[in-house]
Structures are given as C-alpha cells and as structure tokens.
C-alpha cells in the first residue's frame, strides 16, 4: 500500500526544522512567556491559574496519549494515577517533614523536589501492579477494568483508606500542611518589583511548563525508538507484532507504567501547587475528559494532545474569565457566560460523537493514525480498480 514509505518520509520531514516551524515555535514560546506575565502584571491571577491548570492537563493528556494513542490501550481510569501521585506526594511529604524536623525546618521546602521522582515512581509501580494482571485482556475489557480500578481508588480515598486519606474532607488535615516548594519564596523575594509580584501561581506555572517541555521531549524521543515502534506495531495488530518478536506483555507494561508515571508527576505538582487535594478532584469524569483531550486532538499525536488539552481544559475557563473581565460583557450577560461552562460536557459529548463519525483522526492527527483511520478503504478500492484495469487492459474496447 506504500503506507510505510510515506511514514518514513514524514517522520524525517517532521524532524527537520524549517524556518516556518522555527517561527511557529518562537511565537508559541513568546506567547507562553508573555501572556501569564502580562496577566500577573495587571493583577489577573485567575488567568495565571488557568494557564497553569491547562499545563497540568497537557501533561496528563500527553501521558495518557502514550497509553491510548501509541499503544492503543483504552484506559478509562487514568485519573487513579493522577490521584496516586497527588496523595502519595502529600503523604510522603509528612514523612519528609518528620525526617528533616518539622514543617519549619530549613530543608522542609525541598519536599516537592525530593518527592517528585518518588511520586512518579509510585504511580508507575501502581501502573505495573494493575497492568500485570489486566493487560492480558482484550481492548474493551481493559477499558472497563481500568474504569473499575479508577472507581475503587476514588471510593477508597473517600472512605479514608487505612486512615491515611481523611475521606471526603481531603488533605491536608487541620493542623497539617503541605510545605511550599523551595524556590517559591526566593522568586517572590528576588524577582518581584514594586509593581510586579512574582506570585505563587506564576512560580508553579513556570514549573508546569518546564515539566510539559520535559514530557514532550521524552515522548518525542520515545516515538521513534524501538519501544515506540513496538507500541505502534502492537496497536495495529497484536498477533502480527508478537509474531515478529515484540514481547506484548512487556511492551504494554512499559506503555502503562510510563503513562501512569506522567499522571503521578502531574498529581504531585497539582497537590503542591494548590495546597489541597480531595477525592472529588479524581473522579471518573476527569478520566473521561482526559480521554476526550487525546481523542479530540488526535490519538498518537503530541501536538494533538496539547491542542486537545488546551481546548477542553482551557476554553470554557477562558470564556468564563473573559466574561468576568468585561471583555465579553457586551455580548454575554454574566449568567450566559457561566451557562457556557455548564454546557461544556453536553457539547463535548456531542462533539465526541460527531468527531468519531466525521474526523476520527482528531484535530492534529499523527500521519500514521490518520491513514489508518480514514484512508485505508479508499486506497484498497483505488488499488482494486487499478488492478482490474491492468488485468482487463486487453478486453477494453480500444477507441483510438
């Protein structure tokens, strides 16, 4: 069919930096730096928070994209890993406070930095622990089992599992605290001017963006690695992949645990930024939203996941924010503006259906995935016509 040839060509092309691409990246970078700084300068902290929140969702979407997009395993309980990262981050934070001698000790602020890899590891191990028994299941069974797992985790958190999670009231309990990360105070002291405060939210925005860039870098490297190609092969045809020497179990487990790891990183970052977590942040709807981000953007595509996350997490908030900041008040009453937020799930639901019917490859699809989802039948038909013409060339009436 010639599909593989096209893929090699495009992947080489996409690696090359054309001037157009450099300009695009520069514009995005300028926006990502300028916009939050501007909003901070005019005192609109709400918008800075939204930028950071969207960043968290970008990370989650990219992480889930490994599982759903590359490896083709539908995980409907991804939020369990997000929650695992958040709760283990906070709980291990208490242990860290005890080690260094209390929340006011000089080293207490290091807890986020020390625990970031630990929370990631915890989430990844959870992924392996869940994945080992269930990854043998066929696709849609896996979806339901992961959904069940996500619910079990949420119910356990809600019921104060092992006396650790404080139930629906969330963490930290009264009298306990999540110590602000080291650096937060420093930037506030040294980078603020008389007119500009380097706020906590801006600080976390910077960290989130850095983590997003790291995520993108790692996933790009994975994409064309041996493992990345094994994922795609497995997604396309598990039996054929196994026959050509791909160890299905190991490959799936890598996808599952790497995806879970980014969930964990996003979780601990969210917990230390917001300073409070409760089981309600980790419910099933959240998992569905992250799946929507990946699907809407284009499964298996890095820019797709980013765009999907920006649209789904950002757009309703931005509209609501704009409506409050009087920019849109000429067109919308405040009630209408807040109604838009209420309608988002309805619209996403409809959008998912329409999207699957008309553009199953998503907004910014990966080349490979787009061909797989749409072009196949057309190509086969065309080829058949060609073959028919070749075979019947001599039977055709020659009009000369």
């Amino acid at each position: 069919m010639g599909g593989s040839k096209v893929d090699i060509k495009t992947s080489v092309e996409s690696a090359r930096l054309t001037p157009k691409k450099i300009a695009l990246y520069a514009a995005i970078a300028a926006f990502l730096i300028a916009a939050p700084v501007y909003f901070q300068a005019v005192g609109n902290v709400f918008m800075v928070r939204i930028f950071a929140l969207v960043g968290i969702y970008v990370m989650l979407a990219l992480g889930l994209n490994i599982v759903v997009g590359y490896a083709g395993l539908l995980d409907l309980g991804y939020v369990a890993f997000y929650g695992m990262g958040a709760y283990s981050g906070v709980l291990l934070g208490y242990a860290w406070q005890r080690i260094v001698g209390g929340a006011d000790a000089p080293l207490a602020g290091l807890s986020y930095w020390v625990l970031l890899p630990l929370a990631a590891l915890m989430a990844a191990l959870t992924g392996i622990a869940l994945g080992t028994p269930v990854l043998r299941l066929r696709g849609d069974y896996l979806a339901i089992v992961t959904l069940g797992f996500g619910e079990i985790v949420r119910i356990a958190l809600q019921n104060d599992a092992f006396g650790l999670t404080n139930g629906a009231a969330g963490l930290p309990r009264v009298g306990e605290s999540i110590v602000p990360a080291a650096g937060q105070k420093w930037v506030f002291m040294h980078l603020s001017t008389s007119t500009f405060t380097f706020s906590k939210d801006l600080f976390w925005y910077v960290i989130v963006v850095a983590l997003c860039l790291l995520t993108i870098f790692v996933i790009r490297r994975l994409d064309n690695s041996r493992l990345g190609r094994a994922w795609v092969a497995m997604r396309e045809d598990e039996v054929a992949a196994a026959a050509t020497g791909v160890n299905i179990m190991t490959t799936k487990l890598w996808a599952f645990s790497l995806g879970a790891m980014w969930g964990g990183i996003a979780g601990i970052t969210y917990a230390y930024w917001v300073g409070f977590i409760s089981p309600e942040s980790f419910n099933f709807m959240e998992s569905v939203l992250i799946v929507c981000m990946v699907v809407l953007g284009g499964m298996g595509s890095i820019p797709g996941s980013v765009v999907g996350a920006v649209i789904i997490a950002g757009l309703p908030e931005i509209i609501r924010g704009l409506a409050q900041s009087t920019a849109l008040s000429r067109f919308l009453t405040p009630e209408q503006a807040s109604r838009i937020g209420d309608y988002r799930f309805l619209i996403f639901g409809g959008l998912l259906v329409v999207m699957m019917a008309f553009r199953p490859q998503g907004i910014l699809p990966s080349t490979r995935r787009a061909r797989e989802l749409t072009a196949e039948d057309v190509i086969v038909e065309e080829e058949n016509v060609d073959m028919w013409e070749v075979e019947h060339k001599h039977d055709l009436p020659h009009k000369l």
Binding site: L74, D140, A143, G148, M355
Partner: protein
C-alpha cells in the same frame, strides 16, 4: 459489622430484587456485545432515560381520572407508563445506533466506544441542564405492604401482612421478630423481571427473528449472505436492550424513591459486570450474572461494609476477567487473526 445468620434470608430477598434490575440492564449489554462486539457504554443512560420517561408518563397519565379512580386503574397507570417509557427508550436506542454507531461499524474498535462515551455524556447533561440537576422523587400511588414471615412471641411461625404504618409488634405482640419480609414493590419487581426474562429468552431461542439474531451474533457476514437483514436485526437489538433497561430504570426509581441524572452510572457498570460474570454475549449468562451479583452485593453490604459495597462489584469484575474471562456460562473466545 456483626455477621448474623438470621439476616441472611432478608439480604437474599434484597439481593434478588437488586439482581433482577441488574439482569434487566445486563441483557442490553450482552445482546449488543454479542452482535457488534461493542460495549455500549451509553446503555447505562438508557436505564436513566427510561426512569425519566416513566416519570413523565406517570405525571401525564395521572391527570386522567380513569387511571386514578380505581385499583385496576392504578395498575393500568403503572403498566401503561412502563410500556410507553420502554417504547420511547427503545426508539431512542435505535436512533443512537443509527446516528452514532452505524457510521463506525468498520472503524477501529476504540471508535464506537468513544462515541458511546460521548452519547452518555450528552444524555446525562441534557437531563442535568434541561430537567433538573437534583434528584426528583418518584411517586408511588398505590399502597405498599410488607408480606412478613415472622416468629410470634411463643416462637411459632406466623405469616402476616403489614401496612405502611403498622408495626410487627402491634400485630403479633411484643417479642415477635421478622424472619423475612417481601414488600409489594419487591414482589412486583421480581415477578415482572422473571416474566420479561422468560419472554425474551423464548423470543431469542424459539422465534424466527430470534434465530436471525443468533445467526447474526455468530457470524454477521454469513448471516447477511443467508438473507438476514443485518441492519434490521441490529436495530431490533438496540430496541430490546434499552427497552428492558428502561423497565429496570423505572423499577429503580420506585424502589429507591427518587431518580437523578447520574443514576445510571453505577448500576450500568455493575450490570456490565453481571454480563461479563455470566459470559458476555450469552443471554442466560447475563440473567444469571445479574442475580449472582445482586445477591453478592446485598450480602456483602449487609456483612462487610456498606461504604465499600460499590467496590465489591468492581473487585468481582476484575477477578472474573482475570481468572475466568469467559464468564460463568460463556465459552472462551480466541482472538481472531
């Protein structure tokens, strides 16, 4: 919680009621899966929509004096409401199949599942935004009795019927204790469920249409070549499943006394568990799975912990999928190349 053997019969009765509802919903999952190999994620919303349609018809019809003037009228009120709600929900199911799933019949398997999640989100939020975000009381206009088997103070067995406000001690004397109680609602739910299950089973195993359904489930393409109208069979499947789900939804509304836009999610997942437990694609398996799961859950919430009762179904699901992926009555499926 203390394990008290004397509570077992009552928990089993509760479990039977719950199991009947699970079985009715599970049918929809198993029929669709049998024919399209697809988890109809939106099926839990059919259960929810059925309850809302039922409530709507109850409200509309109870304005007619015919339905409220006599006991027979009251029975007719509920029977007609349930029937109309089932037809409406069935039609909704057919429409959803036509517009959301049929275009994806040859798409990769993730596509219809995601589409179904979309439908589910859409319906839930349509009810949330356009009807109510709160739970709505579901009226019961007929008297509910407790049919009670008890031991009277002297220790001998006694059977008595209690009204809504009557107490066992007043009827049989101080010191009497109930062994097992059936409420009017429970009897109605269990009886109607069993009748529906029997009718459906007969339909699928005895009629020509049922035969066509089984043929389609076995091999869609070949069945098509033998003259079965595949689209029609799929449409019928998508009518029956949601219609049965709607009946379960109305029962759930009557049993628990209220309905809410998100009421479908948990029963939906549990019924899917029931379908998998019995062997997905297998009709009798789904019925058996529903009752087994209902009983297991009632016993577990009675003797282990009510807080974790929702976890039990998920744990059963995961264990079944790992150790007996074919289910209780299902055969193991070999991955086709």
């Amino acid at each position: 919680m203390h394990f008290n053997i004397a509570d077992v019969p009552q928990q089993l009765v509760n479990g039977l009621t719950l199991g009947g509802m699970y079985a009715l919903i599970a049918l929809g999952y198993t029929l669709v899966y049998g024919i399209l190999l697809m988890i109809n994620f939106a099926h839990s919303e059919m259960f929810m929509m059925g309850a809302y349609f039922g409530l709507m018809w109850l409200k509309v019809l109870s304005k007619q004096s015919f339905f409220t003037s006599s006991g027979a009228g009251l029975i007719a009120l509920y029977a007609v409401s349930i029937l109309l709600a089932a037809i409406m929900t069935g039609t909704l199911g057919v429409l959803i199949e036509r517009f959301a799933y049929r275009p994806l019949r040859h798409a990769p398997r993730l596509a219809p599942l995601i589409s179904a999640i979309g439908v589910s989100l859409f319906l839930q939020n349509a009810i949330l935004l356009w009807v109510s975000s709160r739970s709505i009381p579901f009226p019961i206009k007929f008297p509910v009795y407790q049919y009670t088997l008890a031991r009277d103070p002297s220790g001998s067995l006694a059977f008595t019927v209690l009204g809504a406000t009557e107490k066992l001690a007043d009827k049989l004397g101080q010191g009497a204790h109930a062994i097992v109680q059936f409420s009017t609602l429970q009897i109605m739910i269990i009886v109607v469920t069993l009748v529906l299950l029997f009718v459906l089973d007969t339909f699928v195993s005895r009629t020509k249409l049922g035969k066509a359904m089984r043929a389609t489930a076995q091999d869609r393409d070949t069945a098509g070549l033998m003259g079965v109208d595949i689209n029609r069979i799929i449409a019928i499947t998508f009518f029956i499943g949601p219609a049965m789900g709607a009946v379960a939804g109305i029962f759930s509304g009557m049993y628990y006394g209220n309905i809410k836009y998100n009421m479908g999610f948990i029963p939906g997942i549990k019924s899917f568990t029931a379908a998998v437990l019995g062997g997905i694609g297998n009709l009798r398996g789904a019925m058996l799975g529903g009752f087994v799961l209902g009983m297991a859950e009632a016993l577990a919430s009675g003797f282990i912990s009510t807080a974790y009762k929702d976890v039990i179904a998920f744990v059963i699901l995961i264990l079944v999928l790992i150790f007996r992926p074919g289910g209780l009555l299902g055969e193991s499926v070999v991955e086709k190349v």
